[in-house]
Structure formats: C-alpha cells, structure tokens
Amino acid sequence: MSIFSFFRSAPKPSAVQAKERLQIVMAHERVGRSGPDYLPMLQQELLAVIAKYVDIDDNKVEVKLDRGGDCSTLEVNIELPSRDQLKAPKADAKGAEAKPGNANGKPEPGKPANASSPAPSAGSVLTNGGVSKRH
C-alpha cells in the first residue's frame, strides 16, 4: 500500500454500488405498483392549465425526473413562444431559462401572455415548475 492511497478514499466496490442502485429503483417501483402511472396525466393537466393562457407547442415541453434515495425531483421545462419568434432567430433555450423567483420570462399577472407587453425577443422558458417530493 503506498502512502498516497492512505489519503484517497477507496472507490466503492461495484457490488456495493449495485445494491444501492437496486434499493433506490425498487423502492420507487414498489410504491408505484399499486397506483396508476400519474406522470402522463400530471403532464396533460399541467399543459391544459398553461394552454389556457399561452399557446404552447407540445414538442417544446421537457419533463425530467431524478429519483433519489430520499428525495426525487421532477422538473418541467416549457418553452413559451414569443410574438416575434418567426422573425428572430431562436436563442438557446438554456440561455433563456428563468430561475425560480425571477420574474423574467414569466407572463405578468393580470395580463395575458400574448399581450403587447415588451416580450423577450426569443422563446423563453418556464423552469422548475418542479415538484420536489420527500419520502
């Protein structure tokens, strides 16, 4: 054993990683087995609500899930069309991503999203409409 290996934390043996991965994925599956698959319905209802205010493209909706041991995150990214989208080249969606709590890119309350308020020049994104769930 060299002196350097003393300072390095040993990597987890692969069997330990296998067990941890299985425990996480199976815990989620056992819980989900009884109930219906709610994600498609959740997405449809979310979109229906948003579609009442904004004209959205179904293909511009990204749903990400990360199942963790004690915390899972669900992230829904919806790219909103802008008025002059047809004219302006579309900016990278990531660049236009709005941080939660930052009003930039969100429709102003009391005004329909397609009103004549100065709209961002490119498609903006509603981000972290995220649901965080603890078990």
Binding site: V61, V63, L65, G68
Partner: protein, 271 residues
C-alpha cells in the same frame, strides 16, 4: 434512413441486454446517432444496464399510447455523444406493443437516427415478435451450450418466416451470430462447444465471440455498458464486433487460451 437491428436469442439469460447496451454504445462511439429500445415490457432492465434507471419519466408504451412525445421519452446518455435510450414500461404487459404503434415509432426514429437497436425479450411471443418484425439486421446472441443453440435455430426460423421482410418477400433480414460467454479453457478441455461447432450447426456468419468475463458483472453493477471498459477482454471483443458489423476486417481474438510462459506454468503446477 436508419437501420433497425434486433438483438435476439430465443433463450433468456444469454446476454441480449448486455449486448444491446454494448453494441449501441459502440455504434455511437463510432459517430452514428443510435437509440437502443427495450422491448421487454413489464420486465424492464436495459435502463439499469445503461445506468439511467433514475431518469426514466416516460417510456415506449407511453409514446405508443400517445401519452407522451417521443423526444420526452428518449433519454440521452450522459457518457457517450449520439446515444439515446428508450426504456419500456415496468407496469404494463406485452399486449401494449401493437404492430401499428411500434411501426409508427420506429418510422419516426428512422428519420432521425442512423441505427435503432431493439433489445428483444426472451421467448418467441408478442414482445420478441414485435422486436424482430421490422428488423433489417438480426444479431443472434448465443451461448456455446445446447439449449441456447437450439433456441437460436428456432428464432432464425421465426426471422425467416414472420419478419416483415419475409412476409413481403423482400431481401431477408441479415443474420449475424454473436457467441457470448465463451470460455476457451473449457473448450480446450472439451467441456464446451467450439466456435466452429456452433457455426456448423447454425450456419450463419460470425460477428464476434465475447469471452466469459468478470468485467460484464462489474459493468452492470455500476450501470455502464461493458464496451466502455476498454481494458477488459469483453469490452475489446464488443469493439471488434462493432467494427466487423460496419464492414471492417477485424481478426477474431479471445477464442483460444493464451500461451502461458514457463514461469506461470511452474506457478500453476505448485499451486
């Protein structure tokens, strides 16, 4: 227009999912835009082998049923550019695979991808039939063992009679043999079928021989396709097989016992 490859065997546990993950990754490493689809509805495992099990939101069946868009269900691999995984449902059964639904999604994928690798379930029922029906190429995963060889022969018969190409009288599905879990030492002792024995019986071209390797279990433990373990025999053998699939002339390796030096032979004797 993308090409559809089915990884099939008839028998279970011979390495279809391991090979699908490795082969798809190998094609993507060569720069081809590749998607690997799990057809084993109800017994999903490709996600675990590819290490994306925590990121599954929507699946193949959701897309077939119109509950999600295809690009929402595709999971982009985090390690390899150009590689995507389409997981299947863990809760539904094989009846969810309708011929029209599968065709619609494969057509859509063919527009965007160079290769579509279909990981077949074991058996010759609906899931297996749907995974091979639209195939252009079939990779028959076989172990050098009597039941596996017989089942491979059976699945070759199914390919020749029940695939779309067969039904339409088109050029038949191209068949390739991938011999997995090969142990040259046992072959030398006369305990295991030789490569040539299997080739003689099945009479299809040999794509590759994957040696029995501890790297395969290690890789699946951590959710990494074994082809990314380039130091391992199995990883190298899959890289070679991908090269041959792409038309390269690659010599077969790992099919005979490496010659031992005097030193290791002496050690062996004293052990």
């Amino acid at each position: 227009m993308g090409k559809i490859i089915v990884m099939t065997s008839g028998k279970g546990g011979v390495g279809k999912t391991t090979s699908s993950a490795a082969f798809a990754t190998g094609l993507a490493l060569r720069g081809f835009k590749t998607v690997v689809i799990d057809f084993d509805v109800g017994l999903r495992n490709l996600d675990l082998v590819m290490g994306c099990e925590r990121r599954v939101v929507f699946d193949f069946i959701n897309v077939i049923n119109g509950e999600a868009k295809l690009n929402q269900a595709l999971i982009k691999d985090k390690r390899v550019e150009n590689l995507y995984i389409l997981p299947t449902s863990q809760t539904r059964d094989k009846d969810a695979l309708t011929k029209d639904g599968v065709e619609r999604i494969l057509n859509e994928l063919c527009k965007d991808f160079d290769y579509i690798v279909c990981d077949s379930p074991a058996g010759i029922e609906r899931g297996a039939l749907m995974s091979l029906y639209f195939a252009d190429h079939a990779i028959i995963v076989t172990n050098p063992e009597v039941s596996s060889v017989r089942d491979s022969d059976r699945i070759l018969g199914v390919l020749n009679s029940k695939s779309r190409r067969a039904e339409r009288g088109e050029e038949p599905v191209t068949q390739h043999l991938l011999l997995t879990r090969y142990d040259p030492e046992r072959v030398e002792k006369g305990e295991m079928l030789k490569v040539d024995d299997v080739l003689e019986i099945l009479a299809i071209p040999l794509l590759g021989v994957i040696p029995e390797s501890q790297a395969v279990l290690r890789a699946s433990n951590i959710g990494m396709p074994v082809i990314l373990d380039e130091a391992s025999n199995a990883g190298q053998a899959y890289l070679d097989a991908v090269g041959r699939f792409l038309g390269e002339d690659v010599e077969h390796r790992f099919i005979s016992v490496p010659k031992k030096g005097l030193f290791s032979r002496l050690l062996r004797r004293s052990a």
